[in-house]
């Protein structure tokens, strides 16, 4: 039997990024992935779902440049179908607002001059703050204790970066740090469409409404991402999101990583408080001195390790990782081109008419209910790759908010959510209902079942201030190591979170290679 230096559990973006980095560091790595095709959330569901094998993620905005370059993705079949994607804030009357360039650098449509000017100022401020946060993403979160072996020089540099904003901007940063995004927007902007779409972007993928404090920071974190070399931009890979996963798989294979699909890990072998291997559901056992889990922290620690190997307090903290998914995913196959009242389909289409609609959609979710008027981000992948008017189209939408634990049961909630979503869609694209040939709506629970993400939260744990940086997933395990020697965490549940990025996996590998004991 072949012997390995490290076993990576999970062949998603983070698992593969981690394996690639470890291999570069001279390790022999085995990646075990439960699915038939590696890639996690970047690939579609099982082939049984027919034409709708669409991935969970539908846009690139966080792909870590270290991963992109380090894995030579461009050499392995990855390219962009669209970079610097335009966003259209849809209006039900056809009075759309079009935001071009990264984070809406220019806006066309009926927007007042005052709002235009105010947005230019706000945008500049947001991007300045986001830029100051960028170095954090590639960092092993520091520890709070003194003499904890932090890279003090590196931290001081980042701190100085914030201070260099200048006294007034630094003060403003400290004020805005934990503010809610609604107050931030309402202070300066008056246009409902613009405010709605920005508020929606801020809370996309999180369990917060725009009026929840701390929501601006989550937005800044998102703006700190980049696509195709541009900060805060959005991009679409050629051939769909699945090609990111495929390129990563090819890259890892080329670098000598052994990748085994259809291999579901049942438990992590622990001997003398040390992780020594994994046992698959098939009964096979693999051994290695280093085990890296790109499965979520809850699943890793509670299911694969098991409470009996851990302290009571530690188990409690693990259980307390908040992991509510608030987003549903809609996939439609359309027999012809839909018409969103003239909107350019090769843009990111947003239905978030104003802040209150976003907030109201969140309200329902708090009580396990389905919102009457959900808000959504729509991507029509087929529109980006030259399909004719009468050709079939695919539509992918992230629909918010959906309850992660529906009060009336999953089936009833899914049905209701689909009906409400299609109603909203029909208002913005009259006649779209008649074009639907296939449909699929994944509720957070469905996402959990399909992708193994606790609560259906695509960050494997909510990305919120109290679960960020050295608190992600919680303080004891924020530096990727765990109390079990030889066991490391590398999923989106660790810093800096998910979103087809690979950063967490890459960071974890760097940490492992640095020689710090787990």
């Amino acid at each position: 039997m072949q012997s390995f230096d490290a076993i990576v559990i999970g062949g998603g973006t983070n698992g593969m990024a981690c394996a690639a980095r470890l291999t570069k560091g001279g390790k022999r790595v085995l990646v075990l992935d439960a699915a038939d095709r590696p890639g996690g959330a970047a690939v579609g569901g099982d082939p049984a779902s027919g034409a709708l094998q669409m991935p969970l993620a539908h846009l690139l905005m966080m792909l870590d440049p270290r991963v992109h370059a380090g894995m030579d993705l461009d050499q392995h079949g990855f390219s962009y179908a669209a970079t610097d994607l335009t966003t259209t804030a849809l209006s039900a009357t056809g009075d759309h607002l079009v935001l071009e360039g990264p984070a809406g650098a220019s806006v066309s449509g009926s927007l007042s001059d005052a709002d235009r000017a105010a947005w230019a100022t706000l945008r500049k401020r947001l991007l300045t703050y986001a830029e100051a946060l960028v170095p954090f993403r590639a960092l092993t979160p520091p520890r709070i204790a003194r003499k904890a072996g932090n890279d003090m020089l590196g931290l001081a540099k980042i701190g100085l970066g914030l201070r260099r904003l200048g006294r007034e901007e630094f003060r403003e940063f400290l004020r805005l740090f934990l503010i809610n995004v609604a107050d931030f927007l309402e202070d300066d902007l008056t246009d409902d469409r613009l405010r709605g779409v920005l508020a929606f972007d801020a809370v996309l993928g999180s369990w917060l409404g725009p009026r929840s404090p701390n929501s601006l920071l989550v937005y800044l974190n998102r703006l700190a991402g980049e696509a195709a070399g541009t900060r805060a931009a959005l991009a679409l890979p050629k051939g769909g999101m699945g090609t990111v996963a495929d390129a990563m798989a090819r890259s890892t294979a080329a670098s000598g990583v052994t990748l085994q699909s259809g291999a579901r890990v049942e438990r992590i072998l622990i001997e003398d408080d040390r992780a020594t291997g994994v046992v698959l559901t098939s009964g096979e056992t693999y051994r290695a001195p280093t085990i890296v889990s790109a499965a979520g922290p809850k699943q890793t620690l509670l299911d694969l390790v098991g409470a009996r190997h851990l302290d009571t307090g530690f188990v409690r903290r693990t259980r307390n990782i908040r992991s509510r998914g608030g987003a549903a995913k809609l996939h439609l196959a359309l027999t012809a081109r839909p018409d969103f009242r003239g909107a350019d389909l090769a843009t990111r289409l947003m239905i978030a008419p104003d802040i209150n609609t976003v907030e109201n959609a969140f309200n329902a979710t708090k009580y396990g209910e389905v919102p009457e008027r959900p808000v959504m981000e729509i991507v029509i992948p087929t529109a980006h790759e030259g399909t004719g008017t009468d050709d079939p189209h695919l539509l992918s939408a992230i629909v918010q908010f959906a309850p992660h634990d529906p009060r009336d049961g999953l089936d009833k909630a899914r049905k209701q959510m689909l009906a409400n979503t299609l109603n909203v869609l029909e208002d913005h694209a009259p006649g779209i209902g008649g074009l639907i040939s296939e449909r699929e709506l994944l509720m957070p629970q469905d996402i959990e079942a399909r992708y193994g993400m606790a609560g259906g939260n695509w960050h494997h744990g909510e990305l919120s201030v109290e679960q960020m940086l050295f608190l992600r997933p919680f303080a004891d395990v924020a530096q990727y190591s765990t109390p079990i020697a030889g066991l490391w965490l590398a999923s989106a549940g660790s810093h800096p979170g998910g979103g087809i990025s690979g950063a967490a996996g890459w960071n974890a590998a760097e940490r492992i290679l640095s020689g710090v004991a787990a």
Partner: protein
């Protein structure tokens, strides 16, 4: 006539500041627009024979240091601790609350043995967070954006205080500060009614729901109080909340200070960028070397200071200071003690807070109504009868009932409150009580209904915000009220803020008034007595 300091507003903070300044030898005058003193800490006879604490209604946050310094007990202030209270459940039951930890624990066990166990851990953790933050109340916040020795020294002091904790304690604290109370309680408890009871302090007076991040901090804000050294305990001021401001007035007069009522301030007089006095309604002018405003920051600068005297950036920031009111109040004179069939006969619970909201979800739904610009049809209320403990407030056998209501929006559907709205709001509250107390309506002799509109009109709180500004992180510590002006100073030389718009914020605490006085004395070098208000490292 000329003064060393003129203070606008005879609320508790204005009076506290005045007392400290007078004791340091300054000649002070406090100017109050109403015919009575007290601001929001007031006792008023609004129905014959009944004394209403018609704004604030309980006392615990008031800093004991101030009580001691200003000898308030000598001037008549007596705080009467009260027993816990009860949360009524919709199924006809109740959760009793006691002052004693072990009694509470036993009561919790009735609902969930696991929660009873968790309560020990919970109390310990909360007390630790409290212990960290309490010393900060009486200190001027440092400005993290300057390199002044004073600010750096204070930051270093803070750093050392943080350093006294273990790594996991620090992380717990940061989590706690940024979390929602609902999430926080979920980490300890399973019983909805226990969580509903414990979440109360996180929403009182604030424009946040129990599921809003940052609400856990608000809980702390309410837990920092103590009565006779019993931390976290609450009490009634004998004779109503006005007893606090009356004692302060007596203390002030004993040190030679003056209070003038019945005439408000029209304008702060500014000459060459310096505050030089006040012009009162009717035109009378008071000359003073400095002016302290106990009004909130918006009212002070947007209504009573000439805009041309202020830097535009400052004015813009003041305009954006969030003061959305979220609370209402009913003050009720009762013919006899109400009967609550759910409670055992003669239950001590009637001596404390009565709540009719038995789940966090119901509170949050009331908050959703507030966000939508409505008052809730199922409001949260914190209701109590001080007369159960303090017989001086009503004729024998009769009772004064104070109902604090959350949430009431500053505007209804974007328009001003009308009298009809106000009455409907009051009726909703009375109906809710009557659900649990048959015959309640027949015992009501008189009710005063107060919405944010009434609070603004009478007490002068902008938008009826009882904290003179919301308690979210963007408006706390060095951000309160405006970054760069968190040290009680304002852009106008000799014009100071001493109300709850300044650090550490609202509640009948007295800390802003005391800290402002300390800053002024430091500024004038009139006294070294209070230097410790700012860390001397």
């Amino acid at each position: 006539m000329s003064y060393d300091a003129a203070i606008i507003g005879a609320g508790h903070n204005g009076l506290v500041a005045a007392c400290y300044l007078a004791r340091a030898g300054l000649k002070v005058v406090v100017v109050e627009k109403n015919d009575w003193i007290g601001g929001a800490a007031v006792s008023r006879e609004l129905h014959p024979g009944f004394t209403y604490s018609n704004c604030s209604y309980v006392c615990s946050l008031f800093r004991p240091e101030i009580m001691r310094d200003l000898e308030l007990p000598k001037y008549g202030l007596q705080v009467l601790p009260y027993e816990g209270g009860a949360v009524f459940t919709r199924d006809g039951g109740y959760l009793a609350i006691f002052r004693d930890h072990d009694a509470n624990r036993r009561e919790f066990a009735r609902y969930s043995p696991r929660d009873a166990e968790a309560y020990d851990r919970y109390s310990r953790d909360i007390m630790r967070h409290c212990r960290f933050i309490r010393p900060l109340l009486m200190r001027t916040p440092p400005d993290p954006a300057t390199f002044r020795p004073r600010d750096l020294a204070e930051l270093a002091w803070l750093g050392r205080k943080v350093g006294e904790m273990s790594e996991s304690q620090i992380c717990d604290m940061i989590r706690f500060w940024t979390m929602s109370i609902s999430d926080f309680l979920d980490e300890y408890f399973e019983s909805p009614v226990i969580k509903a009871y414990l979440a109360v302090s996180a929403i009182i007076g604030t424009a946040l729901g129990p599921m809003s991040p940052g609400s856990a901090y608000v809980l702390l804000h309410h837990y920092m109080g103590d009565v006779d050294g019993n931390v976290g305990a609450w009490g009634f001021a004998r004779g109503g909340m006005g007893a606090i401001t009356q004692a302060l007035t007596a203390s002030l007069r004993a040190s030679g200070g003056e209070v003038r009522t019945g005439k408000g301030v029209e304008q702060v007089l500014v000459r060459n960028g310096r505050a030089v006095g006040l012009r009162l309604d009717g035109g009378e002018e008071i000359v003073a070397k400095r002016v302290l405003s106990n009004m909130d920051v918006k009212r002070t600068f947007l209504k009573h200071v000439d805009r041309d005297e202020l830097p535009p950036d400052f004015t813009r920031r003041v305009e954006r200071f969030k003061t959305r009111g979220s609370s209402g109040k009913l003050n009720i004179a009762l013919d006899a003690a109400p009967h609550f069939p759910a409670l055992p006969e003669g239950a001590p619970m009637l001596k404390g807070d009565l709540h009719f909201t038995d789940s966090v979800e119901r509170m949050e739904r009331a908050y959703d109504d507030w966000k939508a610009g409505r008052f809730s049809r199922d409001p949260f209320q914190d209701t109590m009868m001080p007369t159960m403990i303090d017989p001086t407030m009503a004729p024998p056998g009769k009772h004064f009932m104070s109902c604090f209501i959350q949430y009431a929006p500053p505007k209804i559907d974007g328009r001003d409150w009308t009298d009809a709205d106000r009455d409907a709001f009051g009726q909703t509250v009375i109906d809710q009580i009557a659900e649990y107390s048959p015959g309640f309506k027949d015992r009501v002799l008189h009710a005063e209904i107060r919405t944010p509109r009434e609070l603004e009109a009478e007490v002068g709180l902008t938008e009826g915000n009882i904290f003179q500004g919301e308690l979210t992180f963007d408006q706390l510590l060095f951000n309160r009220p405006v970054p760069g002006y968190a040290q009680y100073k304002t852009p106008i030389r000799d014009l100071w803020l001493c109300g709850s718009s300044a650090h550490p914020g609202g509640g009948v605490m007295g800390a802003p008034g005391r800290n402002a006085a300390a800053e002024i004395l430091r500024d004038t070098r009139a006294s070294t007595e209070m230097r410790e208000a700012y860390a001397v490292v």
